[in-house]
Every structure is written in C-alpha cells, then in structure tokens.
Symmetry: C2
Amino acid sequence: MRRDVFQAIADPTRRAILTLIALHAMTPNAIAEHFESSRQAVSKHIKILAECELVSQKQQGREIYYQFNPQKMKEVADWLSPFQQLWETRFDQLDKLLNNLK
Amino acid sequence: MRRDVFQAIADPTRRAILTLIALHAMTPNAIAEHFESSRQAVSKHIKILAECELVSQKQQGREIYYQFNPQKMKEVADWLSPFQQLWETRFDQLDKLLNNLK
DNA sequence: ATTTTGCGCAACCAAATAATTGCATATATT
DNA sequence: AATATATGCAATTATTTGGTTGCGCAAAAT
C-alpha cells in the first residue's frame, strides 16, 4: 500500500474533499452529501487522506470531524518549487531548453 | 483513461523522470539508464507524461528528445496556492480550525 | 548490404485501486 | 428500553495500473 501525498491527491474526489474541509472541519456524512458517491466510498477516501496525514480527526460524541492538515500538503509544494522558476521565467528559457538538444 | 497532471505525478518514477529532464532534454534510453526499470517501462511512463503534456518531444534522427513542459506543471501549483496560506500562517490558524469543531 | 541501435506499439499479467454491499458498534433520540 | 443515527471494518468485484515480453520499423554503423 503506497500511501503518499502525491498518490492521495491524484484522485479528483479526494482533491474536492480537501478543498471542502480546508474551510472548516466536517463529518463524513456532511462531506458525502457533497458528492454523488456513497458514504462508504467517501469514507474510504477520507481514510486514505488520514493515512497519509493530509487530514486529522477529532471525535465529538459519535461524530468525527475531519480537518485539513496543511503541513503534509506542503510536501507537494516543496517538491514543486524547483520547477517554479521554469514557468515564471520567459522566452529566454525556451532557448536554453532548445540548446540542450544540440 | 483518466490522464491528468495529478495522476501523472502520483508515480515516483515519473516524478524522478521529470526532475531529470527538467535540467536538459533526454532520450528514452538515456532516461532509462537512471532507473532500475526496463526501457519499455520507462517509455510507458514517458508516454503518460507526454499524453498529459508534462513533456514534449523533438525528433532528432532516430532519437527522440523529451523535454519538460513547465506550463502544465503550473496547474498543480495553481491548485495548491489556495492552501498555501494555511501552512504559512502560524498557530492562531490552529485555533481557528479548532473553533470550527464547536 | 548487413547488422546494430533507438524507439514505439500491442498483448499479456500481476498487483493495486475504487466502489459496493453487508455487518458491527457506539452514541443519540424517542 | 427500543429505535435511529453516525461511523468504521471486512469481503467482494470491476477497473486501472505498472511492468514484462515480443515484435516491427527506421536510422545509424559496420
């Protein structure tokens, strides 16, 4: 079971869940209401998000509130940052790349 | 065949390929030399990266040079940016999240 | 001209994944 | 106390994925 952040955000439903609970913590049922999928399907997605620590949970009676954990998401941003300058710089960058073909 | 950028970078080998060719364009064989996997396995990864436009190609005789396309990667950064402030702000943010549980 | 090299494509296979269904348990509500 | 609700867990299934093997073709090298 490869369970890393990149694999977790590969699924569009999971990305939607994250944007949803980033605003405020929610219970599985409340989350599931926003999707076509069944409660169990959503719960499985939440479980995956929890396993790679993209979300954490707080028990509140019989309800469980899942909240977004920004720290783990930072790992993606950190991996991305070296590339960032490549799309920020402009056409002179293109020349540089083309020269590598020679 | 869901072929989007998020799914493409979910695989660690594909991420490694991207960091490799971001420096300079490379042929499939040259790329494959950096991995345990076979040439065909690597070629399949490259194909996926090409399909979602994370890499582009330049034919050069019988060799094909694959180069990194930063623009598509920007899509990931763009999706990430709304979350960014969450890990940049500090502990007062934690209180805010905890209050949502009430 | 023959052989080697670089590459893509298609078929196949094992493992992983996403979703469904059925069940169990604990906490509310009546 | 009995019922309803919120949730997790396990088993099952269909689909997707990552990889291998074998093939064909065009461009170099001999």
